[in-house]
């Protein structure tokens, strides 16, 4: 018992166990989704996060210690984002030909998501700081946190809302769109990228490379658009809503 305890104390303090656990849990989550016929509700991010939160809570492991190990996986987000240029290049001729519908869908989807979040939270009695933290939740975390800070929201609250938005879009997005008879991969991917950034883009790559490329484009452009448009539009919308 003592020996086992000593081994645990040693391992829990090293990055190895948390890195290994991240990969093993993700592999298991992938297997769960595969056996479930690829159903989007069995999203591997959702399952992995849920399992890891339970394990960390039960073992009383602080998130910072877990991240010491998991950061090696997290770090790959940077090069993976750069790598999105390859599928984008593959769809380039279609993206150029469709620039006008893409721009309209981007502006409408982006503003609808941000402004409805702001307005609904306000109608339900949330504080202004909370409303401002919600508005940029559809864009990728570093951009969203920067916008929240500039608007006067709480960047750390925005960070959670961004993750929850991403998982929700990945879980519910293509089901909702199919119900609305949006059936082509380009539109599904683009909507996933506009509304739920990188996690939505990861889901889009599960559907097809076309969906993934359109999602990557939407994610990048929405980051740009939201960081420019939201600080300009929100004061105006706030006046309109009577704040």
């Amino acid at each position: 018992m003592n020996a086992a305890n000593e081994i645990w104390v040693y391992l829990a303090a090293s990055p190895l166990i948390w890195l290994a656990l991240t990969l093993v849990v993700y592999r298991g989550a992938q297997e769960v989704q595969r056996r479930g016929g690829g159903h989007p509700i069995l999203n591997p991010v959702l399952i992995s996060v849920a399992v890891l939160v339970v394990i960390l809570t039960l073992t009383q492991t602080p998130y910072a210690r877990y991240f010491d190990g998991a950061q090696f996986v997290h770090f790959l987000l940077g090069p993976a984002t750069v790598a999105l240029a390859v599928p984008l290049h593959g769809q380039l001729s279609r993206l150029v030909a469709l620039w006008r519908p893409l721009a309209i869908a981007l502006a409408a989807g982006s503003l609808a998501a941000a402004l409805s979040a702001y307005a609904i939270a306000g109608l339900m009695g949330a504080s202004l700081a909370t409303q401002l933290s919600l508005a940029p939740k559809s864009v990728t975390t570093p951009i969203a946190m920067g916008i929240a800070e500039r608007l006067g929201g709480l960047p750390s609250l925005t960070a959670v809302l961004v993750i929850l938005t991403g998982i929700l879009g990945a879980v519910a997005g293509d089901g909702l769109l199919k119900r609305l008879r949006v059936t082509d991969d380009a539109s599904i991917g683009f909507a996933l990228g506009v509304a739920s950034h990188g996690i939505g883009t990861a889901r889009a790559f599960q559907i097809s490379e076309t969906a993934g490329a359109f999602a990557a484009l939407a994610m990048g452009l929405n980051g740009l658009l939201t960081s420019i448009a939201l600080p300009l539009l929100l004061p105006w919308i706030a006046r309109l809503l009577g704040h």
Binding site: N43, V53, Y63, P79, V82, P101, I163, S187, F205
Partner: protein
């Protein structure tokens, strides 16, 4: 694989330098993505190796969000008293964003290329 990773990391680094030098609101990796796209356009496409490494990374894009995603455990308490309002706004607005972007693009592209989209 190594030369592709070296390229991705160098372009990410270049993106960070550009972001810091020009005070851009866009993250370094996104600028790196634009730089790589420009290189691919100039070169006429990715090498076999570049394509394979890119596919390898992007196939498991979901995995890369797990460490940051697990961070929700730190801040769930922040939802606090306003939890219901926040989650309601989050769910409805995300579904609205998905529906608006998806429906508009689908309608507009179906008009433009009636034979391309069923």
């Amino acid at each position: 694989m190594i030369s592709a990773l070296a390229l991705f990391l160098s372009l990410q680094l270049a993106g960070e330098v550009i972001r810091l030098a020009l005070h851009l609101p866009v993250p370094g990796p996104v600028i790196g993505m634009v730089l790589l796209l420009a290189i691919l356009i100039l070169r006429g496409g990715p090498s076999v190796e570049l394509r394979a490494t890119s596919n390898g990374l992007l196939q498991h894009l979901s995995l890369l969000f797990v460490p940051a995603g697990t961070g929700v455990m730190l801040h769930m308490g922040r939802l606090g008293d306003e939890g219901v309002a926040i989650l309601t706004a989050l769910v409805i607005s995300t579904l609205i964003g998905l529906a608006v972007a998806g429906l508009i693009l689908h309608r507009l592209t179906r008009q433009a290329n009636p034979d391309q989209t069923p």
